[in-house]
Amino acid sequence: MTKSTQAAEPETPKLRFGGHDGWGYAPAPESTDHVELRDRYGLFIDGEFVDAKDGRTFETANPATEEKIADVALASDADVDRAVAAARRAYDNVWSKLAPRERGKYVYRIARVLQERSRELAITESLDGGKPIRESRDVDIPLAAAHFFYYAGWADKLDYAFPGRGARPLGVAGQVIPWNFPLLMAAWKIAPAIAAGNTVVLKPAETTPLTALKLAEIIRDAGVPPGVVNIVTGAGETGAAVVQHEDVDKVAFTGSTEVGKLIRRALAGSGKHYTLELGGKAANLVFEDAAVDQAVEGIVNGIFFNQGHVCCAGSRLLVQESVADEVIAKLKDRMETLIVGNPLDKNTDIGAINSRAQLDKIEEYLEIGEAEGAEPFQTSCPVPERGYWCRPTLFLHASQSHRVVQEEIFGPVLAVQTFRTVDEGIAMANNTPYGLSGGVWSDKGAKAFRVTSRIRAGVLWANTYNKFDPTAPFGGYKESGIGREGGLAGLHAYLQPEAAA
């Protein structure tokens, strides 16, 4: 008989955490009294905070309470024009003429101030975006600082970027980032760009503009020359104005595959440089020789990290048939311990869904999955009355053609399938239009290396998941994007090799 039936036999009492049956945690909220938030934020153009030319604003709210935090300037085409012009002037007159070593020093300064203001930034991130404070404190903000620190050091080493060739910056970069890792994505975009000698116009997501605007304060306070970094807030139209601006030399976009294709189309024939980090539907493959308890932790981290708002989330679980019952039973038990609630509480595992619109999209997929015939499982944890929440969810017995298997949901929803042979598992893993990431769980080293080499994706985690580092290139195959961020490959995205001598 399989291991799974052996494991299922003894009925051990289950531990229930989360406050609803006597094993609760006392609330442990992070103190917010030291965080200064203004009622109104302007655009950061040419080193100053300014209102939108037409005076328009939009609200940013806390998704855990649905309460407004601040009014934020809404940049129109005219404001984007101003920002791009400021970036061009700064590129021509200042940044491209600065000694590389000095350019690097500015970037180092940004890294250091990010570290100094780290807790404030973590709290702001959790307030504005809904992610658990444990994650914003331990992942987002430290990695953002590390990213600036890493690329700062490249500024005076560009001659080593392309073997046999010189390198020069591209000019003005127009960058649009998503709401799932607001400050970290800003760091991924700005750090390599300015270290390489470009200037930037960055558009943060409309639901999470605040940490980017705090980063603008940091950049100003670090003495970075005006116009080197410009931040324009707004929604899709503002982003379109940034990426389609005639005087932008390089476009960097992180977001959906749908919007990425629109941008790619608009860039056709322009000869402009571009990098696109788009959607994903990563498979997490658990083999029968995996350490099951570790794999279960990896599955949970893979899909429930940041509410599943992760392009590289392990949103498909492919588990080998012989261990499927055991893995799924343990996974359900582990999921029951997850705490959904106040993002600022240090016990919280899963915070608020980022917006009403995203919650609607997730709930639509919950209906689709059930209608298509997959078997839903949701945990029983309580969720707050106000705010946007989604309990951790499985779709068992999903089929390869199900939309919950093929399409990116961007929420805490895991589609579960089983496979028999290694080849079948690999074929299933590769059978979506995406190719951003993948996970492999096996205690056999040779097998792990072989499987990771056969999955068509840009980032593979073997016996781990959702690990990031500024030195490690990140980006997709297939419809998950074009180009890399992080590491030397991420520096290449902001440089042009010079013609051979």
């Binding site: 590390a146 392309f162 073997p163 046999g164 060739r165 595959t257 990425g260 294709k261 790619r264 189309r265 056709a268 024939g269 000869g271 696109l276 788009l278 239009p433 792990a448 990771t452 068509r456 994706a457 840009g458 980032v459 593979l460 985690w461 073997a462 016996n463 781990t464 690990k467 580092d469 030195t471 490690a472 290139p473 990140f474 980006g475 195959y477 297939k478 419809e479 994007g481 074009i482 890399r484 992080g486 590491g487 030397l488 490959a489 090799p497 051979a500």
Partner: protein, 292 residues
Amino acid sequence: MSERRSAAAADRLPVLKTHKVYVGGKFPRSESGRFDRALTPDGTPIANICRCSRKDVRDAVTAARAAQAGWAARTAYNRGQILYRIAEMLEGRSGQFEALLAAGGTAPDETAAEVQAATDRLLHYAGWTDKFQQVFSSVNPVATSHFNFSILEPMGVVGVLAPESPLLGLVSSIAPAIAGGNTTVVLVTGSQPLPATTFGEVLNSSDVPGGVVNMLTGRRDEMLAPLAAHRDVDALLLCSPDPDVARSAEIEAVHNLKRVAVRPHEDWTDIQSPYEITDLQEVKTTWHPIGS
């Protein structure tokens, strides 16, 4: 060819060659049964060539896909030897290619240099097969306890709009793509297709597995769009100085976000570098925990 015109004067009737396309390691005609004429610069017909169709493009993509995993799985050493073998075969047929180039309009005193340059180019990329990975991959010093490395992998099936340069340009576009483990569907130039159809014979006698290079002749304006839009093509190498050609192909390529490299050069003498290989490679980053 010139033999055709001089046939009547000769003691024996020369055997003329049927110029067919090269797909899946075989030499079929176009499924469409259509033909075009290959002409000398002054407009004299010298041969009939296949005018390939959209269906031929799809068949070629199928052949390229079928060959890709196996070609990528060859050792770098083996791929290097096979590219070297192509150079050997080309060298041995240099006279034939010089004649074909001359018939197509290359100045007589330049044909030998062109064939030699094409041969040397193959040798150059043969030598890169087991070196570019060493130069361009990395071990990444991450701040956690992981062994983390980034390597290059071939993009997969590459659609090539070959340069007008009928031999050196053709070789310069194909060699870096296959050196890195890609397979190719090549739309050869319509103005001088005969060096390409004959180059298929060189490939076929060089241990290049069938399907690694597939070359189609005909009207590129009717083949490029279906190739650029094909969802089982991973990348495009567009060798054209015409920005409108590149732009329209790029738009078709958006369907499945093909990677696109544009080469507007008309003179291919100096277009040779490992970046021609790496532009058709993906970067894959892998994390392995270090621990017990």
